[in-house]
Amino acid sequence: MGDADVISLDDHRDDHDHDHDQVPPGFSGKLSDLIGAAQRFVTGLAELPMEQLRTVADDPLRELLGLLTRAGVDWSGTTDDVADYIRHRMSGDYAVDEFGFDPEFTTTIVLPALRQVARTWFRVEVQGAENIPTDGAALLVANHAGTLPIDALILQSVIFEEVERHARNLGADLVFETPYVGDFARKIGVTLACQEDAERLLGSGELVTVFPEGFKGLGKLYSERYKLQRFGRGGFVSAAVRAGVPIVPISIVGSEEIYPQIGQLPTLARILGVPYFPVTPLFPLLGVIGMIPLPSKWIIRFGEQIATDELPQGAAEDPMVVFNVTDQVRDTIQHSLYELLNQRRGIFS
C-alpha cells in the first residue's frame, strides 16, 4: 500500500514537471504577441510628435474644439453661443434668483434634453393646453407616480413648450438633503414645498406646480396604479386661495409604467435613509440598465381652471372650504385619469 502511494505521488510530480517544460503553444503565442505589442508601444511613444503633445497640453480646450471641427461639427452660428455659454459658466457671470433658479442653464441645457425625451421616448400627447395660463400666477396640481419624479421634469418641459413659461415645481425636503439632486433641483427652479415658498412664488406671478401625493404617490406599487393617494392637508389649496390664483388640475397618464414597482425593500430603504427602495422587473436585477425608464405612452391633460378669487374673505383659513376645493381638484384629476386610460390603446402605444 505504502509503495503504491509513493508511486502515485511521483506520477503527479512528473505531471507538474511536464506542464512546466512544455507550455501550450496557444499561450506562448499570445505571450509573444503581447511582448511585441508592448515593444511597438514603447517605440511608438518615442516617435510621438512631442511638439504637438505640448500644444495640446498648453491649450486643451482649443484642441478639443479643433477635434470636434475635424469630426464634422458645424460651428457656424453656434461658435459664439457655445463660447458665450462656457464663458458665462466659468466666470460665474449668470444670474440665479432667490430660490437658486438658473434660467440660463435650464433653457440651454435641461429643457432641450427633456424635450427630446418627451417627444421621442414617451411620445407625450398634450390635451387642454389652452388651460395653461399664459400670464399671471396659477397653481398647477398634478398626480405623481413612477418611482422617480420624471413626471415633474416632463411636465415642466411640456409647459415650457406650450406657453414658454417656467413652471416652478415644489419638492420635498429630502430632495434638498440629497447631494447633486438638491443642487440640480434648485438650478431648474424647484424649491421646498412649504407654505412660505409657495406664497412667495405665487405672489410674484409664477406658475407653481405641486404634487400633493408626494412620496405616497411616487412610491406606490404597480398594483395601485392611477389610484390617487391622499392629498395631504390641503396646504396647497389654502396657498392658492390666499393668493387668489386659479388652480389647474393636471392628469398625467403614462408615468406609472416607467418603473413598474412590484415590490419594495424597506430595510434597505431604512439603511439608505430614503422613503422606499423600489423593486421593478429590471431593477435592481439589471443595475444601471434597469434604471432606464420603460418607453410608455404618455398623455398629459390640463383640466379647466378652478377659480379661487370668488371665495369669501378668510376662506383660506376655513378648513371646510379648503377641504371642499381639495376634493374638487382630486376628483377632477381622478376622473380624467380614468378617461385618459380608456383613450390610450395600450401601455406602449
Binding site: 466659468m90 466666470s91 460665474g92 432667490e98 443642487d183 412649504c194 412667495r200
Partner: protein, 349 residues
Amino acid sequence: MRVRVILITGVARPLGARFARSLAADDELEVIGVDVLPPKYDIGRARYVRADIRSAAIGRLISGSDVETVVHLGMISSPPGAGGRSMMKEINVIGTMQLLAACQTSQSVRRLIARSSAAVYGASPRDPARFTEDMAARSEPRSGFGKDAREMESYVDGLARRRPDLVVTVLRFADLIGAHADSALARYLSLPVVPTPMGYDARLQFLHPVDAVTALDLVTHTDLPGTFNVAAPDVITLRQALAVLGRAAVPVPTPMAPTVAFFGRQSGWADMTGDRIDAVTYGRSMDISRFAAATGFRPAYSSRSALEDFAASLRPGRLRVPRVGELLQRAVETARQQQAGRSSGGTDG
C-alpha cells in the same frame, strides 16, 4: 441744544470703527467708542474709551457720560487669537448681559441698537427660500456664533420687555463682505483652493460694510423698534462666488466636512464651525422687505458687487476670469479658422 451722546461697542474692529467715524463727523453728536483693544482703524473724531463690556465699569461709563443711544457691535464671530471658543462665548454672552444690565438701570439711555446676524436662522434643507423676521430657524444653530447671536437676541428681548420705554432695534446682518473684509467666511472664500461641500451649491447673501453703516445710521437717527433683516437683495451661489474670486473648488463629501474644517481651524486657515458649514452647504437668504418698507433703505451694493469689491482687494486666484476668457477666445478663433479652412477646401475639391 444738548448734544446726543452715542456709545458704540466693538470699535476695535472694522465695522465699529467705520460706524464711529461716520457718526462722529456730525457735530451734534458725541461719540464714545468702547473696546478692550485700542482701535486699529481710524475712528475719526470719536472718543476711544478702553473698557471691557464684561465688567461693571461699562455701567459707570454709561451713567457718567449721559449716554442716550447704545449701539452694540461688540459681538465677535470667531474666537480671538487667545482664549478660543470659551473666551468668544464669554465676550458675546456675558458682555451683552453686562451691557444690557447697564442700559436697564441707566436713566439717560433711551435707545438700544444691537447688531445680530443671519446666523440666527441656521441653515438646513428644510428652510424656506427667504427668511422673514417672524420665521423661526428650522434647525436651530447649536454651536458657534449662531448660537451666541440667538442668546444675545433673547437677552435684548428681555430688556425690551422690562423697559418698554426704550426703543430697541435689532438688525440681523447678512455676512459682511467688501474690500479687505476679514471674517471667517471671507478667509474661507479667499483660500487658494476652497474645500466645498460635494454636490451642493449654497445660495449666499452678503452685505457690504458701507450699506451696514448706512443701515445703522438710519436706525440711530429714527425711532424704529423691532427686529429687521439687513442684506443685499440678490443671492449668489458658492460656485459663482468662487468663479468671481478665481478660486479652485475641491469638493469634499459632506460627512467628511467637519474633519476638514477641524484641520482648517487647527491650522488657522479658516474658522468654519458647524453652523458655517451648514450655511455653505444648504445656503440661506433673508427677506429684506420689512426694513426697506420701514426706512426706504436700498443697499448700494448687491451681493455680487460686494463680492467683486472683495475680489478686487485680493490677490487674483489661478482661475481668474481674464485668464479663462483669454483661453476661450483663442479656442473660438481657432475653431473659426479651421471652419473657414474646411469650407474653402471643400469648394476647391
